[in-house]
């Protein structure tokens, strides 16, 4: 009995240690971002000052556009590519998986330098226009986009479903959009969310290319209003957690078959 308890106590200690490791910084962040500097309760003053600072709206709007653009670009590129690989060249999937994780290994600085060398002459807008960051963000998000869509495609019998659709008269685009996409919708939602999170959180590329994105704005503000920047960071994390919860909840509903589509509903 004693020997049985020992591992349990050990496990409990590890869980508590991990919880402390994660929770204490959270509590510290809340205290630093929202507590009154001289004590005596909490306040939203720092974050309100942040929101009213010059450039907040512009930076938020730029990041929102980049998030939308990155998500659209990533999904448009990766969904047909991965569906095609699964259907026609499944043997190449391991090689593509290796390629997909390269952005983990390549630092953003190297990515920007590479893009500068490659595109300065043919497509300088990539380095000048803010929209030019979309392909770079899509590369940074590639490991997450790939994994999310790949998991979705592995969860369905994509070959049989697409052959059934083709046999019933669906063209390739219709097969993709009327059969494959609706059946991996939760994975796409997850991929979209991760792209949004990356587009909002990415700092290095924006900073090197001199674009005032949301994260660049927060970093700049950290010098003048460190409490506000910390509070904003905390809110971003809470937003991320809430969205993850939403995706997870949709995923459960999807498995229960309650997310519905109708051929007659139009």
């Amino acid at each position: 009995m004693t020997t049985r308890r020992r591992p349990q106590i050990g496990l409990a200690l590890i869980v508590v240690a991990c919880a402390v490791f994660f929770i204490v910084p959270f509590i510290a962040t809340i205290r630093f971002g929202f507590a009154k500097p001289l004590g005596g309760g909490y306040t939203f003053k720092a974050i309100t000052r942040m929101v009213h600072a010059d450039g907040f709206g512009t930076a938020l709007w730029l990041s929102a556009r980049l998030a939308f653009g990155t998500t659209f670009f990533s999904l448009l590129l990766m969904v047909p590519t991965l569906a095609w690989l699964h259907l026609k060249m499944p043997k190449l999937l391991p090689a593509f998986e290796v390629v997909s994780v390269l952005p983990y290994a390549i630092p953003a600085v190297a990515l920007v330098s590479g893009a500068a060398t490659a595109f300065r002459k043919p497509w300088p807008f990539i380095l000048i226009e803010s929209i030019g960051m979309i392909p770079l963000y899509a590369i940074v998000a590639l490991p997450f986009t790939y994994r999310s869509i790949d998991n979705g495609l592995r969860a369905i019998d994509v070959k049989t479903l697409s052959e059934a659709a083709r046999g019933l008269g669906a063209s390739w685009p219709k097969t993709l959009f009327a059969v494959i996409v609706p059946n991996i919708s939760t994975s796409l939602l997850g991929a979209a969310f991760l792209n949004i999170a990356i587009a909002f959180g990415e700092y290095t590329i924006a900073s090197l290319l001199l674009h005032q994105t949301f994260s660049a704005f927060v970093v700049r503000q950290a010098n003048e209003n460190p409490r506000g920047a910390t509070a904003m960071g905390l809110l971003s994390i809470l937003f991320t957690c809430l969205t993850l919860g939403l995706v997870s909840s949709l995923s459960r509903r999807r498995k229960g078959g309650r997310v519905t589509f109708s051929a007659f509903g139009r």
């Binding site: 369905i156 659709a165 609706p182 051929a263 007659f264």
Partner: protein, 351 residues
Amino acid sequence: MSTEINPGLELRGVRKTFGQTVALEALDLTLEAGEFVSLLGPSGCGKTTALRAVAGFERPDAGSIFVAGHDVSDMPASKRDMGMVFQSYSLFPHLTVIDNVAFGLRMRGQSATVRRSTAGEMLELVGLSAQSDRYAHQLSGGQQQRVALARALAISPRVLLLDEPLSALDAKVRVGLRDEIRRIQRTLGITTLFVTHDQEEAMSISDRVGVMSNGRLEQIGAPVDVYRKPTSAFVARFVGTVNTIEGTVVHGGVNTSSGFVTVPVDGLVAGAPVKLLVRPEAVMIEHVGAEGTLTGSVTGLSFRGAVTRVSIDIRGGVSVLADVAGASAERFAGGDVGVRFEPSGSFVEPA
């Protein structure tokens, strides 16, 4: 002026290879309009490749495929107007039963009214009207395959292709759905190509059965002909059980290590080594010493419901199986018996 009637489906010299493996070796096959033909064979014999080539999912290396006289060889799968039911459950998980059935009509741009009414009719045909608002995961395997059948039929296909649609179902459901497929096929008069490795399934519902081996069509004919007059040992073995006895041709029969057996040996030279193939139901058990019988001892009985399978060791080294109606074979247990082979269920093949 003569009116030519085109066959429902025709494969002319269809060949398909995967790397070094020949999946189909110049396959010729013709289905009359409204005919139900089964392709039967072991795994890897090419039957599914043939079906997929007809559906447009595999592009043949050579040969042509005609549907009602029109060459569809270069047509994409989406334009071929063929209804297909797959081995694995293929209903679209995000759509309800009725939306699944209406999918093909939606792809053809039919109005919602037409889609709803046609899908409703098809569901009635397969007896699943009450489940129209359910999703695939709420149905049993048998129900899913019925819906898949309704979905395939809803587009009024020129050919119905069935790729082992019953193999994932349990025995009782399989038999019920098998009969239902045949009933619906007869009602609609649709040309149907059915692929299976289950000989009983193929024999029971087909107008003709084609037995395939190594990418070739070994034999095609009415089920009774394929069973009773197999053209090769492979067909005889694959379609039902068969006893194989080695021997040499003599006048009027075959000499085996256990004695002489009377069997038609037309066209075979005396002294030629042959294989004598005998169906278990053609092995007659009589009393020891009866005229024209070989003597053997019963070594085992296996009760199979309608028949009992009797294992007999014939003196001289030949072992055979005999099917005896009902449980009457019990009386032979452990004793000696006379064995005679019915010529109608016995075939000779050069060794």
